[in-house]
């Protein structure tokens, strides 16, 4: 079973800061990590490979330093990795990103399953996974909290707000996963050492046959106008006095707010 895992390098959100003047993310000195949901995707792929045999390939689009997360994927157990990197890819929105990744995946070719995290913790759009499936013309199942092979079909539990949905799908399919699906493993020492030596493919727009009008900023119909931290207008009101009185007041307040 050949599995492709889409991963993204994101700033570690435990210390993300926004520059209040430029309204952009302060990336200096912020540690980059594998998007946590993508780590779950990789773990899911590795478990399927351990059960079924096959090969796991990690793919990402990004600047040269995104190589770090591909090495991390190899250290965890991925067999191969591809970095899609080209100036023409810069500034891509979710449509252009999905197109570029889909072109990369087409070049990798032979796949049964594509797995990604449900969304990236920096952009939070949850659009790239489904976008790739659309570009490739294959089915998609989002928010998987469990998956296993059942004969030649894939059995997936989708997490919903008030329960879960069980689906069976033919391959190839694209699945996005939630963090409840598993606990990503730590890399092994041998994995780390192998990852250091591993030759990782770097493909540019020409390599994947991408139409540059559809990649990067040029291929992006959406623009980020401004990033900001919403002002919180929370006003705390302390109700003091006898319980009977305060409960009454509280009930009034709640009624007024239409909670």
């Amino acid at each position: 079973m050949n599995i492709i895992v889409c991963i993204k390098q994101v700033p570690d959100t435990t210390d993300v800061k926004i520059n209040p003047e430029t309204n952009t993310l302060v990336r200096d000195g912020v540690k980059s990590i594998v998007n946590p949901f993508d780590a779950n995707a990789l773990e899911a792929a590795l478990q399927l490979k351990e059960a079924m045999g096959g090969k796991v390939t990690a793919i990402t689009m990004g600047p040269p330093q995104a190589m770090d997360i591909l090495r991390e994927a190899i250290a965890m157990g991925a067999d191969d990795a591809v970095l899609l990197s080209d100036r023409a890819f810069a500034g891509a929105d979710t449509l252009a990103t999905a197109y570029t990744l889909a072109m990369g995946i087409r070049k990798i070719g032979d796949y049964d399953l594509i797995i990604g995290g449900k969304q990236a913790i920096d952009g939070d759009t949850a659009q790239v996974g489904p976008g790739i499936a659309e570009q490739l013309g294959i089915p998609q199942v989002t928010y998987a909290r469990r998956m296993e092979m059942d004969g030649d079909m894939l059995l997936v539990e989708r997490m919903l707000e008030d329960g879960y949905e069980v689906m069976k799908t033919a391959l190839p399919v694209l699945v996005t996963v939630v963090k409840q699906i598993n606990e990503p493993r730590y890399p092994s020492l041998r994995g780390l050492l192998a990852a250091k030596k591993k030759e990782i493919n770097v493909w540019n727009a020409a390599d994947i046959g991408a139409d540059e009008k559809r990649t990067g900023l040029t291929g992006s119909p959406t623009r980020v106008v401004r990033i900001f931290t919403p002002q919180r207008n929370t006003k705390a009101v302390m109700l003091e006095g006898e319980p009977e009185k305060t409960v009454e007041t509280l009930a009034e307040v709640i009624t007024k707010l239409n909670v």
Partner: protein
């Protein structure tokens, strides 16, 4: 001279620190209170290839060195002292099989040990053979197509949980240390029983049990090294043991320093954090200096071993200084915590009880001083 980590070591230490802080440390109290071997940790560490770090890859290890093993050991011990002790004791079985074992013994026993599929133990100590290691009374007799072992061992770390044991027995009691012979004994061998678990001052989840041999048949091919050359096996193993205990003490002492430093910044007396008082600062400075000195001593001993150079004296110095540093540092950590430090609410009282172990096991502080003095007076 170079104190920098290699690029590989940097990557490894980054990962191990993350694992130690993210997984081992949050579980440490639960591990200590459970009274059970921390198998979850050990299995996870095995998956990460941490159990056979200095063993070549062909035998299931990571193909690295003792310096890296020691650095990893410090992190494990800092985060979870019990897991650190299991990790250290395991090497006392792995190493002699690697160093003295035949190709067949390595394939059969070393590979699963180095991969961490099973854990090992090393049995030397007896009721009447502690510091006086030559006084081993467990007898081994050549019985034709096998050896017959009779006797008992005490305080054996990992005993009962381990699948593979390196046992030092005596083939000629009259000759003392010159009769010592090492064997590999599998758990479940008829005539080999695991006795009671010791109730200790600390480390209640670390198994330290008796081993009892009653006409225990050990196959001929399980002789480790040569007959009556077991004293060398014991010495080589104890050399690695000193590095292991030394670095375990460093990790424990570092944990105490970390706790004390944090606490001193948040504990307010006379309207100020106590870290602003010079008497507290002096304690912290001494603790940090001694911990660092201990670490450098242990890493130097490991480095010498990796270079194939003599390291007996240096390992003795490292084990001695690190153990006594652990005792002093944990005592000061409790002092800095004041009354709260004496309660079970805080970790430092446990660390203080645990520290005492290091001055006793794998050669007491007194024995280490004798070893060092012997080198000086040669």
């Amino acid at each position: 001279m170079n104190f920098n980590l290699s690029e590989e070591q940097q990557m490894i230490m980054e990962m191990v620190k993350e694992y130690a802080d993210g997984v081992l440390k949050p579980r440490a109290r639960e591990v200590d209170e459970s009274g059970e071997m921390p198998w979850d940790n050990i299995r996870q560490m095995a998956e990460m290839d941490l159990m056979g770090i200095p063993i070549p890859e062909e035998y299931g290890g990571a193909g690295l060195d003792f310096t890296t093993w020691a650095m990893v050991g410090e992190e494990i011990s800092r985060a979870c002292t019990t897991t650190g002790a299991v990790f250290g004791a395991d090497m006392l079985c792995i190493y002699p099989i690697y160093f003295f074992g035949t190709e067949e013994q390595k394939k059969k026993y070393l590979v699963p040990l180095a991969k961490g599929e099973v854990v090992g133990a090393f049995g030397l100590t007896e009721p009447n053979a502690g510091s006086d290691a030559g006084n081993v009374r467990t007898r081994a007799v050549d019985a034709g197509d096998h050896y017959l072992l009779n006797g008992s061992k005490v305080f054996i770390t990992n005993a009962g949980e381990a699948d593979i044991y390196v046992i030092i027995a005596n083939m000629d009691i009259n000759k003392g240390a010159r009769g010592l012979t090492a064997f590999i004994v599998e758990k479940g061998t008829p005539g080999f029983e695991i006795g009671k678990n010791e109730k200790k001052m600390a480390y209640s989840s670390l198994p330290n049990r008796e081993l009892i041999f009653t006409d225990c048949k050990v196959p001929k091919e399980n002789l480790l090294g040569k007959e009556k050359r077991g004293f060398r096996v014991a010495l080589e193993t104890l050399g690695v043991g000193r590095i292991g205990m030394g670095i375990g003490a460093v990790g424990l002492a570092q944990a105490a320093l970390d706790e004390a430093l944090e606490y001193s910044k948040v504990r307010v007396q006379f309207g100020k954090p106590i870290s602003s008082f010079e008497l507290i600062q002096a304690m912290l400075a001494d603790m940090a200096t001694e911990v660092d000195a201990s670490r450098l001593l242990v890493l130097r001993a490991a480095f010498l071993k990796d270079q194939g150079m003599s390291y007996e004296k240096e390992a003795a110095m490292a084990k001695l200084f690190a153990s006594e540093t652990a005792m002093r540092t944990t005592t000061k950590a409790v002092q800095i915590h004041g009354g709260y430090g004496y309660t079970k609410e805080y970790t430092v009282e446990r660390l203080m009880r645990e520290a005492k172990l290091f001055e006793i096991v794998e050669g007491t502080s007194e024995i280490q001083r004798l070893v060092i003095a012997n080198h000086l007076l040669r």
